[in-house]
Structures are given as C-alpha cells and as structure tokens.
C-alpha cells in the first residue's frame, strides 16, 4: 500500500505492507533512526513520536494509519547546530546515560511542555511514567524537564 504523510515538515510517500508499524517505517524505510524500538508492545515509550502534536507510541501504530498526518520525530525537534533548551537541559542535568530512551523522553516532554508549560513535578512524573529508563532512576530527567519549562512559556511552540 502507498501511504502519504508529513515527517518533520517534509511530505513523504512510502510503499508499505499494511502490517508495517510506523516505528519500523520511520526507522527502516525513511532511515530516521533516532526513534528507537525497545519493546514493540507499547510499554517502554522509546519509540514515542508526535502525530498531529500528540505523543504517540509509533510501535503501536501502523504506518498506513499515518495517512495525511503530521509526524514529528526527535530529528524534527533538533537544530542543525547546537541544542534546543530542552536538549541542553537534559545534558545539564545528566538526564541520560546510554541514550536509548532519550528520544522518547524528549518527544514526550516536548508534547507535555508545549501543552502545559506550567506543569509541576508530579505532572511531569505522571506523564513520563509511560517511558522507561533503566540508567538514570528518572530523578535527573524530571529535573531537566522542569528546568526547561521557561523555554516553552513564551511562544509555546519552538523547543
């Protein structure tokens, strides 16, 4: 089947099997390997991407379901040079070690901060509880997200 959608601002048209997940489509057909696959059953959150601005597990969505959608991956939340405030905050707070869960954390946190730039620590924990990290113990991730709130308060859009 052919499916047409937007990825990181560019329109793509891909020929896929109906059973192909959006995660595999992004990674292996479009070579956007920043989106990681950790469990393939919707628990770990490493594959989280934005679909029409909502944080979505791309392993639980078929590529064909993305028809007409606006998909944004961690690559689309990054600058060519330097780090966004959210990324810099992750680095500053040592909110990552092996880096495998990080793209899912960044996409999830971006969606949260865009919608709720005034969220408190409990809310951050609640939202991030769908993303597993095995390295950090989450304390530093929560600090990093809270510290990045200021950057989302002005225009609410750009990271």
């Amino acid at each position: 089947m052919s499916v047409k959608f937007s990825v990181n601002g560019k329109t793509v048209e891909v020929e896929v099997e109906p059973r192909l997940t959006l995660a595999d489509c992004l990674r292996h057909h479009l070579r956007l390997t920043g989106t990681h696959v950790g469990c393939e059953h919707g628990v770990c959150g490493a594959c989280t991407v934005l679909v029409d601005d909502a944080a979505v597990r791309s392993c639980l969505m078929l590529a064909v379901q993305a028809e007409g959608a606006k998909v944004v991956t961690v690559e689309g939340l990054s600058l060519d040079e330097g780090l966004t405030p959210l990324q810099a905050s992750f680095r500053k707070h040592h909110a990552l070690q092996c880096g495998f869960c990080t793209p899912g954390m960044i996409t999830t946190a971006h969606a949260l901060l865009t919608a709720e730039p005034d969220c408190d620590a409990d809310r951050v924990r609640e939202v991030l509880s769908g993303n597993l990290c095995r390295c950090t113990g989450y304390i530093s991730i929560v600090e990093a997200v809270l510290d990045a709130r200021a950057a989302y308060k002005h225009d609410g859009k750009r990271p």
Partner: protein, 769 residues
C-alpha cells in the same frame, strides 16, 4: 600556565549527550547494508525435553526465505559458549551449545534460524517450522535440582555444577560457646538487568579476504573475538569486532551469547550481511538472568554486638547452562557475606545448581546485592535481640582505617586472596546518617508509630557496603598527537552508556595539560584500535583504561620532549610542554603541531592484580500500610566514596541510577516460572521495572578521600555501589516500620501482596493460631 588537574574532578557535561539528545546516536539496529538478510530464531517453548524432530521444509519454500539453519548444519560437533571468567574444567560439561540438538533445557533455547529478505518474512517462516519435542520432567527450582531426580545432564549424574567455599579464621571454634547465635533463611528472586536496547548483531563476511566484521559487539570485544575465532576456525586478526552506541549493559549486554556465533555463521553460510535484533520477549527469555539465590546462615556475636563469625550455606539457581561469567554471582555471595565488616571467622559454602531456566550471568553488583540483603537483615535481627542500636551495631563492626589493608575470606577452589585497600568507612556512614536526618527522625518516627495518623507506619534503616572494582590483568590505551597539535585517544575499554568518552577526555586532557577542545575524540570499542583490550566489567574502565591513558601520556610526553629538544638545542628533561607549545629554558619554543611531520602514536598500558574498594552507606525512610502492604519510599540516601572522582556528575548519575535498579529488584522485578520451567513473565506488562512515578526521592552523595594506593589516578571503580545495599536497607526499614507486628522480611521481592502476607502471618503467629 600548567593545567594539571583542571578537569579531573569537575562535573563536566557529557560529550556523548550531543548526539544522544538529538537522536544521532548509532545503535546496532540502526545499521543497514546492501543485500542484508534478516535472521529470526526459533526458540524452544518447552523447558526440558528430548528434541526428536524438526521439519523446516515448508519454511524453506517460502518466498523471500534464503536459508534455514538447524543444528544439523553446524557440523559434527556443535560449538559451545566457553566460560570467560573462572573457566574451571569442572564447568566444561555444562557449557551451552549454540543451538540445541539432542535436548532442550530451557524455554528460549535456539532450535533453528531463518534467514530472509525481511524480518517479517523470517517471522512468518518461523511459524511454518514443525518441531517435535518429548517433554521431560523439569527442574524448576534449586530445591528440585537437589531432590527431584530429574537431571539436565544425564552423563554428569548431578545438577550441581560446583561448590565454592569462603573461609577465614576458625568458624567452628568461634561458634562454640558463643554468647549469642542466630540462624536464619533468606532468599532473593530471579530478575535481570534489562537494558533498554535489545541485543543485536550485524555480521558481514568477506569471502575474498576471508574476513569477518561483527557489529553490535559490546563490553568485552577482545575476549569475544577469541571465542568466535575458535568457534569459526578463523584467526583472531581475521575478525573485526565493532561496538556502536550501546543502550546499557549492567553486566549482561556484551557477554558472548549463542547468537554471537549464529549470526556470523549465517553471514558466512549465506555469503551476505546478516542482521538480527531480538524482541523484548526473546530478551526476557534469553539474556542472562541473575540473583536467584537462598541461604541458611548463622551469626555468632559477643553480648556487646561484636561479630565473632558467620557460617552457613547458600544455594544459587544457575539456570540450564554455565555461561561466560555465570559463576561470578555465586562466588561473590560467598566472599562478600562479610561486606565492609570485621568478621574474623567465616565458613560459607555455596552450591551452584542447574535448573530448566535461562542461564544466569552477572548483573550490576553480582552476588553483592543478594549477600548484602542476607547480612544486613541478619545484622538488624541480631542488633534487636541484643538490645543494641542498629547504627551502633554497624559502627562497632566496620573495618577500621587502621585495619587496612584488610584481608577478606579466601575462596576455594580458587584460593584467591583479596584485601580491602583503603578508606574510613565511619565517615560515609556518618554522612549518610546526617543527610537522612537520622538523629531527629529516629525518635520522632518511633513516637509517631504508636499512633499512626493515616494508618501508615514509618520505618528507618541504614546499611554499609563495599564495591569491588578494577579487575585486572591489563588495559591498553593509545594516544596520537596529530600533525595539527590535537590529540586522539584510543582505548581497549568499552562504552556501554556510562560516559566513558567524557571521563577519558578529562583524564587525557589533564595528563597532557591541554584543553578538552583540543582532543578530537576518544575511540573505543573496536579490536582495531589497540593491540589488546579487556573491556568494561567489574567497574574497571576508569581505573584500568584511565591509568593506561596516563601511562601513554607519560610516554607521549617523553617522545615530544625528545623531539622538541632536538629542535630547541636543549636537554629533553628541560623542555616544558604547555598550552600547545614545547619551550626550552632559554624561552625558545616550538608548537606541538610542528614537532613531527607524521602523527606521533604511543601505546600505554596498566597492569593490576589487586582490586580497588569503593565504599559507602545507604539509608531509607519508608511508610507502610499494613492493611494493603503498600510501601512508600519517602526518602533514600546513598553515599559513596570512590577515592578520587573523575566526574562527579556522571558518578552521581551512576549512584542514583543504580539505586533505582535496586529498588526494582527489591519491590517488583521477578522472572516467574511454573513447575514445567515455563516463563510466565515474558513481556514488560508482566515483568515490572520502576517508572518515573514510583520513587521520586532518591538522593546520591559522592565523596572523595583515601585515594586508592593501587593506581596512579587514585581512583576506585564505581557504578555498582548504588545497587548493592538496596534490598537490605529497604527490607530492614519495612521490618522497622512493622516491628510492632513482628514482621521480618526474609524473601524478595517485597511486593504489596508479599508485605500484606507478612503482616497476616505475623498476626496469626502472635494470636497463637
């Protein structure tokens, strides 16, 4: 300006993060090659059985399937995975064949492998393979391994693969006439490291050159190359092992697994690149398990709480085979039962028992997490019996600074000798107590428990630990001064997500007295970079790799000084190297970039046969609802002293992250099997790990003093200390909270239902029913 020690000890933000936060890390499943085939492995769904027949004909005929490999294709004798650590001849009969042929011994064992154009086609073909396995009675736990009559290896006539014994002093004499003795049984449950990145291998065979490239290697590349070369009949230098970014190891990722042979074999078999990536279900049934052990242990004390001795027996469930480092946890249970305490008389034996479950290997703090739970529980019970404060009991028995170096129990049959190197264990205990506010909380909480306002009872506990590191024998590093005056670093250590590139850049920059920005990159994780490498395990990278960098830097500076002396007409010893220039006593200077027409490459090494011992203390404050068994972790403090810190930011990250993993192992993580050896927890919906909302308050404090006398950095291996105490300190805090009920946790995990059951049992007991 001399820059020595400008960077070591500073909380430098990590260099690795620049690619990771932007999704630019490169993990093995991110790789793709032209003409690449995908491998999928058929795994046994039977725990113990006789493998009668396999029919792959239908799978072979499917469109897109290029080959199906079974044991019959692997030659007359199936290669086995040898032991990397403690390779004793007694273990050899229990080595794991890379594919099952006559028997299957655990759910998840490889039976066949499909190679197809896509992973989806290979999965389809797996479903078309017909397998006939005659089920045999399974050995589903360690008690059964001793008693139920079923044997995993009939020819061996036993399910016991080995017995270790830790001995110090004369335990028999110490227990005779001891004024106080207590004997208890404890157990810890099977769980696993669970790195977030599933395992993967990409193998490429170059038939013209007879060369093999294996991507996705990790942790111990050179050791794995030796194993693979032997199995494939290749010379070591015909194999190139490459590590990409690794999504966590915690001891488990990077050991040699059956797939580390099967995928390279498939690449040679098909003459095409072959990639395999496990799914999470496969991961839970094939990657090394850990921690399943039990003990029957006795303590002897004087009336004042001075420990006279520890003796008893421990039992470790090894799973179905002895894998590369499978014996380490069992050995450590014996050796570290005494932990950081002066226990003059020790006699502990450990049986290594085979069962029809996934084989075990090391997981962060192997054996130490288990044995610290046993000991710290026993210590709190003894302290209470003797009417001694739990802190005072520990203080009285900690190894003192004056006792260093302090000799630990020796382990038969290795006859290994080990000694604690340096430190003042009272200081980390004091710091831990101060940070959690012990003095104030102790009285307040006991008072509050008399009338719990919200039905919750509060408990407090503290425990001390030691963390061994810096396993020898050697590590290598190579420094290259480029012609533009920048430096490139190559090491035999491996990066598994711990931040090696940053720490090594700090060490190299200080050693060369140059800014970090002038260091191009730290290259690690390839057999091509240095002549030999030993990798990352046993908290060894900083001490071993870091010291090797220092050695290489000393040698490189000598070469640079000699080169500069020739140009500046002075003695080499008179040359000063600083700020990118070499300067003679009379003020003439030459830039580093002008020292040689070619890059100057120098290899260094560090040899070590003694371990370093980081140490510290943990304390926890919990509240427990006896009506539901729910435990809330209100505060957790972990303090670790590692001699000399390289990067406090990453060190603290290791400490706090390890605590969270330990909380998982204490409260929730459990690989459950039924009596047939069937794994019941094959997904992350069944195997629970901590999430962001579970434990919001974990505080880590890193200290430095007493640099290790065993290496030029003065550093001690760290990274495991955060996990070691968790089971002990949490269960003691729960016992403290529920002391009025007489609750004594003896088994992990402490799930709400387990804690609730403890309360019920204690009530029945006190009712006399």
């Amino acid at each position: 300006m001399r820059r020595a020690n400008a960077l070591v000890g500073q909380p430098i933000e990590r260099l690795e993060d620049l690619r990771f936060v932007r999704g630019r890390g490169q993990y093995v499943d991110d790789l793709a090659r032209n003409g690449m085939l995908h491998a999928v492995i058929l795994r046994s769904s039977v725990g113990h059985g006789r493998f009668r027949e396999i029919d792959v004909s239908r799978a072979k005929r499917m469109t897109g399937v290029r080959a199906v490999v079974t044991a019959a294709d692997l030659g007359a004798s199936i290669p086995v995975v040898p032991m990397r650590l403690q390779p004793m001849p007694e273990f050899a009969p229990f080595a794991q064949p890379v594919m099952a042929r006559d028997k299957v011994r655990y759910v998840g064992e490889a039976l066949a492998m499909v190679l197809a154009d896509t992973a989806a086609i290979a999965e389809d073909a797996i479903g078309a393979i017909e397998v006939d396995i005659e089920p045999l009675p399974a050995v589903s736990n360690w008690q059964g391994a001793l008693n139920n009559g079923a044997l995993l290896f009939e020819d061996e006539g036993t399910n016991v693969s080995m017995k270790f014994r830790a001995v110090l002093g004369d335990a028999e004499a110490a227990f005779k006439n001891a004024p106080y003795k207590r004997r208890e049984r404890f157990s810890t449950q099977r769980h696993t490291a669970l790195p977030m990145e599933p395992r993967g291998v990409l193998a490429e065979w170059d038939s013209a050159q007879g060369r093999l490239t294996v991507s996705g290697a990790a942790k111990v590349l050179f050791a794995n190359r030796r194993i693979l070369a032997k199995q494939m009949g290749l010379s070591e230098d015909a194999i190139y092992m490459v590590e990409y970014d690794v999504g966590g190891s915690f001891g488990a990722r990077g050991e040699f697994y059956p797939e580390d042979f099967l995928i390279p074999f498939a690449a040679r078999h098909c003459g095409r690149p072959v990639k395999w990536t496990e799914d999470r279900r496969e991961h839970l049934m094939t990657m090394n398990h850990a921690r399943e052990s039990a003990c029957d242990v006795e303590i002897a004390c004087d009336r004042d709480g001075t420990v006279r001795g520890l003796r008893g027996h421990a039992f470790v469930d090894m799973g179905a085979y002895m894998r590369t480092n499978g014996a380490v946890g069992a050995r450590n249970i014996a050796q570290f039962m005494s932990g950081p305490y002066r226990v003059p008389n020790i006699d502990i034996d450990v049986l290594l028992l085979l069962t029809n479950k996934t084989p075990v290997g090391t997981y962060r703090g192997p054996g130490r997490f288990e044995t610290d739970f046993f000991r710290e529980r026993l210590f709190d019970m003894a302290a209470r019996d003797l009417g001694i404060d739990q802190v005072e009991f520990r203080r009285r028995n900690l190894v003192r600074e004056a006792d260093m170096p302090y000799t630990l129990a020796s382990i038969a049959p290795f006859e290994s000798k080990d000694e604690l190197d340096s430190g003042d264990y009272q200081v980390t205990l004091d710091r831990c107590l101060a940070e959690i506010g012990w003095a104030e909380k102790r009285t307040k909480l006991r008072e509050a428990n008399k009338k719990p306002a919200d039905g919750r009872y509060h408990g407090l506990a503290v425990s001390c630990f030691i963390e061994g590191g810096a396993a020898g024998p050697k590590e290598s590093a190579r420094l290259v001064l480029e012609t533009d005056g920048t430096l490139t670093v190559y090491v035999g250590s491996s990066g598994v997500g711990q931040g090696l590139e940053t720490a090594f850049t700090q060490i190299a920059a200080d050693a060369m007295e140059m800014p970090m920005e002038r260091i191009n990159k730290v290259f690690h994780g390839s057999t091509a970079y240095v002549s030999d490498g030993y990798g990352s395990y046993h908290s060894r990278s900083i001490v071993m790799g870091g010291s090797a960098i220092l050695d290489a830097a000393t040698k490189l500076r000598q070469v640079m000084c000699a080169e500069a002396a020739r140009r500046l007409n002075c003695g080499a010893a008179e040359v000063v190297l600083a700020d990118g220039r070499a300067t003679s006593p009379d003020g003439k200077s030459v830039a580093w970039s002008e020292l040689a027409p070619e890059p100057i490459s120098v290899e260094g090494a560090f040899l070590n046969h003694k371990h370093t011992w980081a140490y510290g203390a943990h304390a926890a404050h919990v509240s427990v609802d006896p009506k539901t068994g729910h435990v809330s972790l209100l505060d957790y403090v972990a303090v670790e002293n590692c001699g000399r810190m390289i990067n406090p930011l990453t060190l603290k990250g290791q400490l706090v992250g390890a605590v969270a993993q330990g909380l998982g192992g204490t409260f929730m993580e459990h690989l459950v099997y039924d009596e047939h050896g069937q794994l019941l927890t094959g997904s992350l919906a069944d195997y629970l790990v901590p999430t962001a909302s579970d434990f919001p308050k974990i505080r880590g404090f890193v200290m430095e003093s007493h640099p290790s006398p065993l290496n030029p950095l003065g550093a001690k291996g760290a990274g495991e200390g955060g996990i070691i105490s968790v089971g002990g300190v949490i269960s003691n805090a729960i016992a403290d909270a529920l002391s009025s009920f007489g609750v004594e946790p003896r088994d992990l995990p402490l799930t709400p239902s387990a804690v609730w059951q403890l309360v019920q049992d204690a009530r029945k007991h006190s009712d006399g029913t």
